[in-house]
C-alpha cells in the first residue's frame, strides 16, 4: 500500500545537475472527506526528506492540498559518489524509506 518509488540515476558526472523523482503510494486522507455519510479517518504523510550521505538535501512538508500518492521531483548535483536516502513520515510516526547510491565519475 505504501511503496516508495524513486528514480535516481546510478551514475552522474561531478557537478552536473540531475533529476531525482520520487513517489509513494499513499491515500493522503485529509480527514475532511465523507463516504456514505461517514468521515474517512485522517491519514497523511506530512514529511518527506532526502539526504545525501546523511546531510539534508531536500525536504517537503505536505499539507492537505498535496495529492494522493505524493510525487516530488527536484534537481541535485554531487561532487563525489554519494548515497541518497529518502524518508516519508506519517503524522502518527509511521516511516517509509528508500535509498540509492549514485556513482560520480
Amino acid at each position: 500500500m505504501t511503496t516508495p518509488r524513486i528514480r535516481v540515476p546510478s551514475s552522474v558526472k561531478a557537478g552536473e545537475p540531475f533529476e531525482i523523482r520520487t513517489l509513494i503510494d499513499h491515500p493522503m486522507e485529509t480527514g475532511l472527506r465523507h463516504q456514505t455519510g461517514q468521515t474517512v479517518a485522517r491519514r497523511m504523510i506530512t514529511r518527506f526528506e532526502a539526504q545525501a550521505d546523511g546531510a539534508l538535501l531536500f525536504t517537503a512538508d505536505f499539507r492537505n492540498g498535496t495529492s494522493a500518492n505524493p510525487y516530488v521531483a527536484f534537481h541535485a548535483r554531487l561532487a563525489q559518489t554519494t548515497t541518497i536516502s529518502f524518508l516519508w513520515r506519517e503524522e502518527d510516526g509511521r516511516e517509509y524509506r528508500a535509498a540509492q547510491q549514485v556513482t560520480v565519475s
Partner: protein
C-alpha cells in the same frame, strides 16, 4: 466514487483574483481570503513579495483536480548568496489553503520543484519563494478544474 461536498460559496474570491493579477507587488497575503492570508503568513512571514524571477507552471484546465501537475521554477544560481531556500504552495479555494513547503539544501542544483496538487474546484494557485537575502517572490496561476479533487 464519492461526490465532493466542497462549500462552493464559502468564499467570494472573484474580485481578489482580478486584484492579484493586477498588483505588481504586495504584502504576503494582502487582499486574500483571511484563512489563505493566515496560512501564507504562518509559512512565509509578513515580508513584501515581488512578482518576477519565479515561474509557476500549471495547466489552464485540469481534467482531474485530484492530480494537477505543477512546476515552480525560481531564477537563482543556487550558489553563494544567490540561493532559494524554500518554495511554498497555496490554493485559494480548497477547504484548507496549504499545499506544501519545499526546502532546498546545499546539494540542490536548481531552484525548481515538480509536484502534484489537488484542487477541490477551479481556483488560484500561489507560489512563494524565500531567498537567502531575505526577499520573497510570488507567482500566481489560475487553474480551471473539470472534476474536483475530493478533499471533502
Amino acid at each position: 466514487m464519492t461526490r465532493c461536498a466542497a462549500g462552493l460559496d464559502r468564499r467570494s474570491v472573484l474580485g481578489v483574483t482580478l486584484m492579484l493579477v493586477a498588483m505588481p507587488t504586495s504584502r504576503a497575503g494582502d487582499a486574500l481570503p483571511p484563512d489563505v492570508a493566515a496560512a501564507i503568513r504562518e509559512q512565509v512571514g509578513g515580508a513584501a513579495a515581488t512578482e518576477g524571477g519565479i515561474a509557476l507552471r500549471a495547466p489552464e484546465t485540469a481534467e482531474n483536480g485530484a492530480f494537477v501537475p505543477v512546476t515552480v521554477s525560481v531564477h537563482s544560481a543556487m550558489a553563494g548568496d544567490d540561493r532559494c531556500l524554500a518554495i511554498h504552495l497555496f490554493a485559494t479555494r480548497n477547504p484548507t489553503p496549504g499545499v506544501a513547503s519545499y526546502r532546498f539544501g546545499a546539494g540542490i542544483a536548481r531552484a525548481e520543484v515538480s509536484v502534484r496538487v489537488r484542487l477541490a474546484e477551479g481556483q488560484m494557485l500561489l507560489a512563494y519563494a524565500e531567498m537567502a537575502d531575505g526577499s520573497v517572490r510570488r507567482a500566481v496561476a489560475r487553474v480551471a478544474v473539470t472534476t474536483g479533487g475530493c478533499l471533502t
